[in-house]
């Protein structure tokens, strides 16, 4: 499994380098802006940074689907399918690699943002004051038990939902390759299927948990549970089709 993940990472290395390079450039821009006290530069850097963060997370999430589609379309599929790995392992490795990459991307951006905030704070106040502010923040954050609960379950919910999206994408691609092996524009068909399935999933979630307007952590837990089950089903479906039906 780890070997599969290693090569999955390596296949997708170029985009990470590009993202890091852009983060580097924007960071330099930001630091220059703060030191030279050019508010416009700082604001632009922060703005671009937020956009980059958003696009990066989106891209990294679905890169696995792009790579997968390319794998199936070209002869490079032989690399994967000649090896003694089960389809379940192959798909699993791809999903895990994506989760890891999204997590790391989040950490990188989060770290840079926090570092920038601290940097800004340090520039405009003394270091001692900055530390005090941070300590105060954490003291208050720890006291907000109930809200912490909600925040955590919200994060878990979002994470599971995100993973579900990725797995649905792979399912859609595999479905396309199973039944429409001779079709042109397989990518368009996959995308269309993706949205179709997503719509279907939404409908199911609405049906089972109709009262999404009143968000409590129980509701969210329920939805998370449903999404987890669906994720498992779509994962198994993808792997099964790949194992039994897809010819490369």
């Amino acid at each position: 499994m780890f070997k599969l993940m290693k090569y999955e990472f390596r296949k997708q290395l170029l985009s990470k380098i590009v993202i890091l390079a852009m983060v580097g450039i924007l960071e330099l821009m930001f630091i220059y802006g703060v030191i030279a006290e050019k508010a416009n530069t700082v604001a632009s850097a922060v703005g671009f940074f937020m956009v980059l963060a958003f696009i990066s997370i989106m891209f990294v999430s679905f890169e696995c689907a792009f790579t997968y589609s390319k794998d199936l379309k070209t002869k490079q599929s032989y690399m994967l399918f000649l090896t003694p790995n089960s389809a379940y392992g192959i798909v699993g490795a791809k999903v895990l690699t994506t989760i890891a990459q999204v997590f790391l991307t989040g950490v990188v951006f989060g770290t840079v943002i926090i570092a920038n905030i601290l940097f800004m704070a340090a520039k405009y106040h003394s270091v001692k004051e900055v530390i005090e502010v941070v300590q105060q923040f954490f003291k208050e954050a720890m006291q907000l038990d109930i809200q912490m609960d909600l925040i955590v379950s919200l994060l878990v919910y979002m994470l599971v939902y995100w993973i579900l999206l990725i797995v649905i994408a792979m399912f859609a691609i595999t479905l396309t390759y199973t039944f429409l092996a001779n079709a042109k524009f397989k990518e368009l068909v996959s995308i269309a299927l993706f949205f179709l399935i997503l719509w279907g999933v939404q409908k199911i979630a609405e049906f089972i948990l109709p009262d999404l307007a009143h968000i409590t952590s129980y509701i969210m837990l329920g939805a998370t549970g449903i999404y987890l089950v669906l994720t498992a089903l779509f994962y198994l479906g993808t792997a099964w089709m790949l194992d039994k039906k897809v010819s490369v």
Partner: protein, 228 residues
Amino acid sequence: MLVCRDLVKSYRNKTAVSGISLDVEPGKIYALLGPNGSGKTTWMKIVAGLVKPTSGTITYNGEPIGANTKRKIAYMPTEPFFYDYMTIANVGKYYQDFFDDFDPNRFEELIKQMDLNMTDKAKSLSSGLAAKLKIAATLARKAELYLLDEPLNGVDIIARDHVITAILEAANENSSIVLSSHLVDELEKIIDNAVFIKDGSMVLCGEAEKIRAERGKSIVDLYKEIYA
């Protein structure tokens, strides 16, 4: 070793393999003969687990084709397929990572013999060199069943000797090799059995020596007759 019965693979507008029954025994070298499009490649891909058959049965040592059989079966496709970013050394490492029977020393030996460098990028190799790389990677595995699809294609005449030698060195009483080719005369001397495929079906199959004696002609001449 490999048992295949009534194997069929049909696509929407064509039947690539129409009912092939073939057994592969250990310790033998088979030639899978026939022109392009006759079904040889599809058959090999089914055995390799890349293509799923429409009907029929195929087992390797009693097991259906799957992750387990891929451990023992080494398939060399006609097309280049390594990842774009890979150097020859990367290719070796990949094989080493996934195949227990891969021998990195043998790989190095074959690479040197074929006049390749570990630092060359797989993507930038000419078709002749790319063909040699594929052969080196595949034959560096100590597999039980080798499926080599057109191993001499694109290989210059001098290097062909090296390829044939490498194939002969991979042959032993526990392994079998199935070679598909339309360069019949190169293979005539090294094979045990010949299998003639035409339009997806097997038209003739048996020991090369017996066929030659019964028909009174070489495999090459027989080939010309069958596919004229």
